[in-house]
């Protein structure tokens, strides 16, 4: 059996002398969507940074498509791993088209002009993210959701087998959340990418992930298919909340329903 | 103006040589210093001195030179700074230079000066603070050679060296007069005076002391239309005006050779005819007793024998 596309093994990392994650191992195979969940400060974003070559781990390693990520040059790494950050801001306002084309940077010369193929990739990415109609608008004039979709398009244009996403649905309205998740699922199913996504919203994680890894205090405390991980007991232990978990009426995937202490039945 | 200068020279000559001296007065006895005295300086400030000052501070190399020329070198207890380099003894005197082109007031007070002579003008603040300490501050600004002679006489009166000053002024006027007589025999030559070439091309215009000296030395500067005393000038205009003589101030940091090598300067008549001269800026930019030497140097450059 071939090695999974993304292998994070025994990673311990932090900032300065402060440790943020300890001995974390995660594997994401081609065609898989894996979710990272956990309370604030549990180390999700740190792990994503380690996996994106932005933060060198103190120990342990990251392998992408069989190669040591930190042994690669930045350009080679960017052809293998695409990141969708939470926020994107340019010092000076690029248009959406220019922004998306920057996703092709790992394939371009330092002068930065793109070939027909690069333009085709950028165009397809914009269509997939439903922003083709915004192509000539400056990024800073867009709504939060439109910007976020531009960022997703930029990462799509990067055409890397591994995609890392940090809460890609934060600024989106319901319709675009659904579309974005469709996009995420499509990347794995249709393009055989390995997708690792940080989720705050457990229901979204459950809806789209093949597996979830739960972090708490920098360690993996649970891992497995959503229906195995997302239980009442897990929510009480990791998040410290009382909540009900039901299977979704159509998909059967777990659905978390919150309960606010002290507030009883509505009238 | 030139005629006025000749007049001063003649009067001085008459006073010292032509007038019969009374037999009962020994010629070496100086006229009595007139203290207490009250004089108004070039900034309109009236200064009163009860007696001849004994400890003098100068704030301009020209005034240091003036005091030494009046034989008062021993009374100079403070000078502005490194530029006070003439005569050689002056370089030994304490510096009072502070920052931002202002004297260090504490230093002046510590030197127990009773008179400060300023040759630049301005600086009301430090002058006021010294006056509050009962230190007399007198400002002298010379824009012409005549001003300078008058200022030297004023320095003489302030220091009680009236006779020495009169003698010095008479000598200077005499020397200037004979230079004027000499250059007056020939038509004025057109000239250009370079103050600086690095960064900007700077020269002198009407209203500056040097410009006055140039005219006195028999030159008609091509910068006579300048609106400023030290204007930045066009090299193109210089080439077009093509002065007969090119003068470089030593403070320009340039040399005769460097001037001749500059792009386009080989088209100048003065370069072609070897009439480019370096002038010691200390002799002409300092309104002091050595100005006559500067005048001589200018006249020699402009009107060789």
């Amino acid at each position: 059996m071939p090695e999974p596309l993304l292998v994070v093994s025994g990673v311990t990392a932090g900032y300065g002398r402060r440790e943020a994650v300890r001995d974390v191992s995660i594997e994401v195979a081609a065609g898989q969507v894996v979710g990272l969940i956990g309370p604030n400060g549990s180390g999700k974003t740190t792990l994503l940074r380690v996996a994106s070559r932005a933060l060198k781990p103190w120990s342990g390693g990251v392998r992408v498509a069989g190669r040591d990520l930190y042994g690669l040059r930045p350009r080679e790494a960017a052809r293998l791993v695409a990141v969708v950050p939470q926020e994107l801001s340019a010092a000076f306002p690029f248009t959406v088209r220019e922004t998306v084309l920057l996703g092709r940077a790992p394939y371009l010369s330092s002068w930065g002009s793109g070939s027909e193929e690069d333009w085709a990739h950028a165009r397809r990415a914009m269509e997939m993210a439903d922003i083709a109609h915004l192509a000539d608008r400056p990024l800073d004039e867009l709504s939060g959701g439109e910007r976020q979709r531009s960022v997703i398009a930029q990462a799509l244009a990067q055409d890397a087998p591994v995609v890392l996403m940090d809460e890609p649905t934060t600024h989106l309205d319901l319709r675009h959340i659904v579309e974005a998740l469709q996009l995420v699922a499509g990347m794995a199913r249709d393009q055989a990418k390995a997708v690792l996504v940080v989720f705050h919203d457990l229901n979204l994680a459950a809806a789209v992930c093949d597996r979830v890894h739960a972090l708490a205090g920098g360690r993996v405390v649970a891992a497995g298919p959503p229906e195995q991980v997302l239980t009442r007991r897990f929510l009480a232990e990791v998040y410290g909340i009382e909540a009900e978990v039901y299977p979704h009426a159509v998909t059967g995937r777990p659905t978390v329903v919150l309960q606010v202490p002290g507030i009883g039945p509505g009238r | 103006m030139r005629s006025r200068l000749i007049l001063v020279a003649l009067v001085a000559l008459l006073a010292t040589a032509c007038l019969p001296q009374p037999a009962d007065t020994p010629p070496e006895s100086p006229p009595e210093p007139t203290f207490p005295l009250s004089l108004t300086d070039d900034e309109g400030v009236t200064v009163e001195l009860q007696e001849a000052p004994e400890r003098i501070v100068t704030w301009a190399p020209s005034l240091t030179e003036a005091l030494f020329a009046l034989d008062l070198g021993e009374q100079v207890v403070g000078v502005s700074g490194d530029f006070d380099n003439f005569p050689a003894e002056a370089a030994e005197i304490e510096h009072i230079g502070g920052s931002n082109f202002q004297p260090n007031v504490e230093k002046v007070v510590q030197l127990e000066a009773d008179l400060v002579l300023d040759g630049f003008g301005g600086g009301e603040d430090w002058k006021q603070r010294l006056r509050e300490q009962d230190i007399a501050v007198f400002t002298l600004q010379a824009n012409t050679f005549d001003d300078l002679l008058h200022d030297l006489q004023t320095v003489g009166r302030l220091t009680g060296a009236n006779a020495e000053a009169d003698e010095l002024v008479a000598d200077m006027a005499d020397q200037a007069g004979s230079i004027e007589v000499r250059v007056g025999e020939e038509p004025a030559v057109s000239c250009f005076f370079e103050v600086g070439f690095q960064g900007g091309f700077f020269t002198v215009g009407p209203g500056s002391f040097i410009y006055d000296l140039l005219e006195t030395a028999g030159c008609e500067p091509v910068t006579s239309d300048a609106s400023d005393a030290f204007p930045q000038w066009s090299v193109e205009a210089l080439l077009e005006d093509d002065p007969e003589v090119y003068l470089v101030s030593s403070e320009s940091g340039s040399t005769v050779q460097a001037v001749k090598r500059r792009d386009g300067f080989d088209a100048l008549t003065s370069v072609e005819e070897d009439r480019v001269f370096l002038i010691d800026s200390d002799l002409i930019s300092r309104a002091g007793p050595r100005v006559v030497d500067g005048l001589e140097a200018l006249a020699d450059a402009l009107h060789p024998e």
Partner: protein, 353 residues
């Protein structure tokens, strides 16, 4: 088809902008060559150029000085103004991308002062000697580079460069440098005046010799900047994001600090301190043509050269035969512009807060 047309929208707009700027530069050169303290008729200029280019014999009835004025004084001055303007403007564009801030300009962040200090040190100690102008440029480059690295380290807090720290850091560094200059100058009181004039900035007296020194240095700097146009674009997204998109951020920053400093130093060593060109030109052209450096850099070269040529033209014809320091002309135009930009930045910052 429509797709392709739209895709090329800004690029075509960019071509239009470049064409317009090329026309502006050509016009500026023509006017600047034609006008000056000494009047030379256009017909005479054409005849003189024809003669120089070997297309015609020496023109009759034209005094020798006219040819000297045109070819030895005016033409090198125009060419040098163009070189210095392009260098300062591209240096500004590079620093603005690197600092991700529209207020970065070699003069404001103290890099020009650093270059001037280096140049003065050589001028005063007379170590220039055999190497001459090249030693001055070299020392200016070292001064500029050290200042650039220092200000960059000061201004960067975490991943971002803050406007306040950038400006304050620049001001503080420039103040320290100016104190050093005063100190250096006070140790060699005799040449203070010529140094003072040197600092004032000017293009008039440097001639073809300066072009021979600055030309190749600036050419190399412009080429290097242009080669990295795509990376400059990437860097606008911030260090982390540009790293994720494959940029070797640390190496890129070092290279760009060197390129920006080289350009600023080459300009300062032949023209003294001339401010605001590097600030205004990239900013205005970014508003017109967008932030894409593949369009911005060439347009900044053309625009910076034109601006400097016109500023120098103003400095020598407004009160001719007297001249105004060219730095005063650019500051007169650039000062108010800087204040406007600062207010705009602050308004935007408070709007985003």
């Amino acid at each position: 088809m429509r797709e392709a047309g739209a895709r090329n929208g800004r690029r075509r707009g960019g071509r239009g902008l470049l064409a317009a700027l090329a026309l502006l530069l050509a016009g500026s050169v023509l006017v600047a060559v034609a006008a000056g303290a000494v009047r030379i008729s256009p017909a005479t200029i054409v005849r003189l150029f024809a003669w120089k280019l070997g297309l015609a014999g020496p023109p009759d009835n034209v005094p020798d000085t006219t040819a000297v004025i045109l070819f030895q004084l005016r033409l090198p001055r125009v060419v040098l103004a163009g070189i210095v303007g392009a260098a300062l403007a591209v240096s500004g564009a590079v620093f603005q991308a690197l600092f991700r801030n529209a207020l970065a300009d070699p003069a404001i962040i103290g890099v020009s002062s650093g270059a001037a200090l280096g140049a003065i040190a050589v001028l005063l100690t007379g170590t220039a000697g055999a190497l001459g102008g090249l030693a001055v440029s070299g020392a200016a480059f070292v001064g500029a580079l050290l200042t650039a690295f220092l200000v960059y380290r000061l201004a960067r807090i975490g991943p971002t460069v803050h406007v306040t720290t950038l400006l304050l850091g620049g001001i503080a560094v420039a103040a320290v440098i100016s104190a050093c200059m005063t100190l250096v100058m006070s140790f060699s009181s005799q040449s203070v005046q010529s140094i003072y004039f040197w600092l004032l900035g000017g293009l008039g007296q440097r001639g073809w010799g300066a072009i021979a020194i600055a030309g190749p240095l600036v050419g190399a700097g412009l080429l290097a900047a242009a080669l990295f146009a795509g990376h400059l674009n990437l860097s606008l997204l911030g260090e982390e994001r540009s790293g994720q998109l494959g940029l070797d951020v640390e190496r890129f920053k070092r290279v760009m600090l060197v390129v920006g400093s080289l350009l600023a130093a080459a300009a300062v060593s032949v023209s003294g301190l001339i401010g605001f060109v590097g600030l205004m030109t990239p900013h205005i052209l970014r508003l017109v043509g967008g932030p894409d450096h593949r369009i911005l850099l060439p347009s900044v070269v053309l625009g910076g050269a034109s601006f400097m040529i016109l500023a120098d033209l103003a400095s020598r014809v407004v009160v001719s035969p007297e001249e105004i320091p060219v730095g005063a002309v650019t500051a007169l135009l650039g000062g108010p512009f800087f204040l406007w930009l600062l207010r705009r930045e602050q308004r935007e910052a408070s709007a985003h807060a």
